[in-house]
């Protein structure tokens, strides 16, 4: 499969898969399939309160729902 990453939605915190183009294209923004919040991967990468790191997740197993 093409390169992708799991990104956490900054609003609902669910993780979902996005292609690498979202990291390369300046105007590209993600759409959370769970809560429909839209954000750039830069926002997803920001440090989140109470967590050791807010970097994009390499964990291939998204949290359940």
């Amino acid at each position: 499969m093409a390169d992708f990453a799991y990104v956490p939605c900054p609003k609902c915190r669910e993780q979902f898969m996005v292609g690498v183009e979202f990291f390369r294209i300046p105007d590209a923004y993600c759409h959370c399939p769970f809560c429909h919040h839209e954000f750039t991967v830069g926002v997803a990468a920001q440090r989140r309160e109470g967590e050791p790191t807010g970097r994009l997740s390499a964990d291939p197993s998204p949290s359940g729902r």
Partner: protein
């Protein structure tokens, strides 16, 4: 089993097909009258049926979205039955792939009819009356962002040649007049979009949804960029596809007159939005993409239209049947004694290929494997067997792999070759490692005989008689046995 008969010639659209099929096979068309939510419920039912290995046509008459019943019914699981498609071709189950291939070799040009003759023009909505959210499209899997067009043929015309191109390409109903469409970069529709964008123009495009299953098989087949999908659909259907001018895209933008629903629009040049993630045919989730979208200008439909859905990521034979014929032809050129080809569902309907040959020269097993692997870019593992192995029985296939294959003699490995971009195990999304397994017995050497029991003994020993039918039915069925 019933004898095989071809669909009657008048049944050249979905309504006619369903009437014929329900008349001849009433147990296999299930009408669901209870309310079914568009989110996941029909996928759950299909998943349960799939586990039972039962593939009836499902017609849901009461679809509910956001607590409100929608007007149109849904047909789903139509392409899930190989037996059904074989009956439509008028052949046996094993011959369905070859039948599909043969019909594709005899392309039939379409004909143009008037609006009055076109059922798809019975209801026309344009401008502010357009709302794709009223269509009973389904949300299939957990990570899908919403409801999708799945069994929709995305239609474009090349800007220069005006050649038609239809492909099953998913579309997310993102807004009232907006469908976000994933066009794989190597597809002809993506090529057509690039050419429009390079010319600084928006691209006219449409989805056509719902037609006779054999028309869908032909239209969805990948053909050369200069070839017509409408003619391919006419070939598999055995009858010219009837076309009619669009409502909002010009007289020369022709759409299928007998489709259930046509969604017209244009792709604004240079504009992209997020689409996905989406449950792919591989049975894994594919990531969200930065995609073009269809700005919808019209929805036309039959008065009694069905929304046609395919369960992507579940059993369906749309890809496999066409591939079996192509692979058979490719192997036959290298090994004339090829007997059969099966592209099973266990390989997601494309990645595994089983080939049966009558070996006459040592080494032909590997030749057949390489030919099969090369026949289509997404074919990943090819297994070649002798004539006595039933390649439609995967227990027999795996037994032959266990007992007739030696890796140091029978393995063919082709590394770093173009493969399916959707294969989750492909590291770069472009290349894969293709493998051939020559599971044929060596020629000119004795090989152990398969166990057997005299046929007359098999015929006279009946477990129902010896154990008793009631008792036998109470003994658990063990699927791993």
């Amino acid at each position: 089993m019933r004898s095989v008969v071809a669909a009657p010639p008048e049944a050249v659209e979905l309504h006619g097909f369903l009437e014929w099929y329900e008349r001849d096979y009433p147990d296999e068309v299930v009408h669901i009258e209870r309310p079914v939510d568009v989110e996941w419920e029909l996928t759950a039912l299909a998943t349960r049926l799939e586990r039972e290995k039962r593939f009836p046509i499902l017609i849901c008459h009461r679809l509910v979205a956001n607590g409100r019943e929608l007007e149109l019914p849904v047909v789903s699981f139509m392409m899930a039955s190989r037996l059904r498609l074989a009956r439509a071709f008028g052949v046996g189950v094993r011959e369905a792939g070859i039948a599909c291939y043969r019909r594709l070799q005899h392309r039939v040009p379409p004909v143009v009819v008037s609006r009055e003759e076109a059922p798809v023009k019975q209801i026309v909505a344009t401008g502010g009356a357009v709302d794709v959210r009223e269509l009973p499209a389904l949300r299939h899997h957990r990570m899908d962002p919403g409801r999708y067009v799945t069994q929709g043929l995305f239609l474009t015309f090349n800007r220069q040649t005006r050649r038609d191109n239809s492909a099953m390409q998913r579309g997310w109903l993102a807004d009232r007049d907006e469908i976000r469409v994933f066009l794989g970069p190597s597809t002809h529709n993506a090529k057509n979009l690039r050419e429009y964008e390079e010319a600084g123009e928006d691209m006219p495009a449409a989805y056509w949804v719902g037609h006779h299953p054999l028309a869908l098989l032909g239209a969805a087949t990948r053909v050369g960029v200069e070839e017509s999908h409408y003619e391919a659909a006419g070939g598999t259907l055995g009858s010219p596809l009837r076309l009619v001018p669009s409502e909002t895209l010009g007289q020369d933008f022709l759409v299928p007159a007998d489709a259930e629903i046509v969604i017209e629009g244009y792709m604004p040049r240079g504009q992209r939005k997020p689409e996905g993630p989406f449950g792919e045919y591989t049975r894994y989730v594919g990531p969200q993409r930065w995609c073009p979208f269809l700005k919808v200008t019209a929805i036309t439909r039959r008065r009694d239209a069905y929304w046609d859905d395919v369960m992507v990521g579940h059993t369906h034979w749309i890809s496999s049947l066409g591939k079996e014929g192509e692979i058979h032809r490719a192997v036959q050129q290298a090994v004339p004694t090829v007997r059969a080809v099966h592209v099973p569902m266990s390989g997601a309907g494309v990645q595994h290929v089983y080939v049966q040959i009558r070996k006459t020269i040592e080494g032909q097993g590997k030749v057949a494997a390489l030919a099969a692997l090369n026949a289509y870019f997404a074919n990943k593992h090819a297994f070649v067997f002798d004539e006595d192995v039933d390649i439609f029985d995967e227990k027999e296939v795996l037994l032959a792999l266990a007992t007739r294959f030696q890796a140091d003699r029978g393995l063919v490995v082709v590394n770093g070759i173009t493969g399916s971009p959707l294969d989750p195990s492909s590291e770069d999304g472009f290349t894969t490692c293709k493998v051939g397994f020559d599971c044929t017995k060596p020629l000119g050497k004795p090989f152990a005989e398969r166990l057997s029991i005299p046929q007359d003994v098999m015929d006279r020993i009946d477990p129902f008689e010896i154990i008793g039918q009631d008792r036998l039915e109470r003994i658990p069925v063990e699927p791993w046995g």
